[in-house]
């Protein structure tokens, strides 16, 4: 036994613990409504109506499916924003089930009701870029853009870590720091966010099986 309490796994009791949650995406939800009722998450049909459900397979977590061309389907905290743009971390395991004409983004975002990336720090796997990237943006009216890593887009599970610091944002992929970005950084408080979108009439799906976020 290493710790008497979960609290003391990450903080001594002499330190007041900051906002910190973790989500396993395990359960019985088979629809957006049951997922919302059973979880801390809110579904957001930014464009068209997505499908949200736990996957009935080993090690496959939760599915976000978009089935109409241009559909953008997301989960967030219904704009409850408890995470700092300059002192927070997100860790998550995510995959896409297809590659072509398929975009997915996950990390922190100010607004979960749109796909305009102001006040955002997300991992991007998008058809307009060859590689996995870090897409960030500051507040409305300022530039947002993607910085590419040297890891090619694929359909495999990857572990991602986004660290929002006072001087930069770091993206690690599978435990290796790939991007350190000092420009186009978010200014406002943010929430966890996962977005799946399809650019064709074919269904496109993103799966996620772990999401942890905390302020530092």
């Amino acid at each position: 036994m290493a710790f008497p309490s979960v609290y003391e796994m990450t903080n001594p009791l002499t330190t007041v613990r900051k906002q910190h949650f973790w989500e396993y995406f395990s359960g019985s939800a088979t629809s957006a409504s049951t997922f919302e009722a059973q979880s801390r998450w809110n579904t957001s049909n930014i464009t068209h109506t997505g499908t949200y459900a736990m996957v009935d397979e080993a090690d496959e977590g939760f599915s976000i499916l978009s089935s109409t061309s241009g559909a953008r389907s997301a989960i967030g905290f219904n704009n409850i924003r408890q995470f700092s743009p300059t002192a927070s971390v997100a860790i998550f395991d995510l995959r896409r089930m297809t590659d072509a004409s398929h975009d997915s983004y996950a990390g922190f975002k100010f607004d979960d009701t749109n796909s305009t990336f102001y006040d955002t720090a997300v991992v991007s796997q998008a058809s307009y870029a060859t590689n996995i990237g870090l897409y960030t943006g500051a507040s409305t009216g300022t530039p947002s853009n993607q910085t590419d890593s040297n890891v090619a887009r694929d359909t495999a599970w990857h572990n991602y870590k986004i660290e929002n610091g006072s001087a930069n944002i770091k993206l690690s992929i599978d435990g290796v720091v790939k991007i350190i970005k000092t420009s186009e950084r978010p200014i406002k408080k943010m929430q966890p966010f996962v977005l799946n979108s399809t650019n064709t009439s074919a269904s496109k799906e993103t799966r996620i099986k772990y999401f942890e976020a905390y302020n530092t």
Binding site: M1, A2, F3, P4, Y7, Q19, F77, N78, Q82, S84
Partner: protein
């Protein structure tokens, strides 16, 4: 690295005892786990607070109605004075939370949090071990133990003047009860006048005559049997 959370928290080969961890993060309170109710005085609100950790808020904000003695509580029972689902031992358990008063001590007869057999915003009843503030007493963070017979003989100030900051609180229930704030032991009870019945995590508020909708925030609760 240990593969399992189980092995991080339990000696190898032992059966885990009851434990709950709540991080109060998300779009709304998990009402499958928590009951959020009032005692009939005013209309309380329970809302996830869209703030980063600074003293402005974060976690879950519980606000009593803006009437005399407005009350609100969080626990696991469906009625104000009904029994909680009580998983935690009066002689072998720990309660940890991260909690803050949002309003001055004078605005509430009682803001309390810890273990109790019922949701009670007034810090009274049977079988409880709680931190509290009380507008009718000192301006300190206080501790109270309600015995199985309702005695409040173990009622004391801590050394800390009540403030509106986040603090970590810990209550250890054994042959004596120990109360710590921010990792510092503040009170150790005698071995008498202690709870005798099982308890559950709870918090609550009972307003004063000021009718100012007093509130508290909570962003972490962990309880386990030892």
């Amino acid at each position: 690295m240990t593969d399992s959370i189980y092995d991080q928290l339990n000696a190898h080969g032992t059966v885990a005892k009851q434990r709950v961890v709540e991080t109060f993060s998300g779009d709304a309170l998990d009402t499958d786990r928590w009951s959020a109710i009032g005692g009939g005085n005013g209309t309380p609100t329970f809302a996830m607070d869209s703030y980063i950790d600074a003293n402005s808020g974060g976690g879950l904000k519980v606000t009593a109605g803006a009437i005399v003695n407005g009350d609100a509580g969080l626990g696991s029972n469906d009625t104000w004075d009904g029994l909680n689902i009580r998983h935690f031992s009066p002689t072998g358990s720990v309660y940890i939370d991260v909690f803050k008063n949002n309003t001055a001590v004078s605005t509430a007869k009682s803001i309390c949090h810890g273990f109790g057999e019922r949701i009670r915003g007034d810090s009274a009843g049977l079988n409880a071990a709680i931190f509290r503030t009380d507008s009718r007493q000192t301006l300190k963070f206080r501790v109270r133990i309600c015995s199985g017979a309702g005695s409040q003989a173990n009622d004391a100030d801590t050394s800390m003047t009540a403030d509106l900051n986040w603090h970590s609180y810990k209550i250890e229930c054994d042959s004596t009860y120990k109360f710590s704030i921010d990792g510092v032991l503040e009170y150790t009870s005698p071995t008498t006048n202690l709870p005798t019945g099982a308890m559950a995590p709870m918090s609550g508020i009972q307003g004063s005559a000021e009718s100012t909708a007093p509130s508290y925030s909570i962003k972490y609760v962990e309880c386990y049997n030892t």
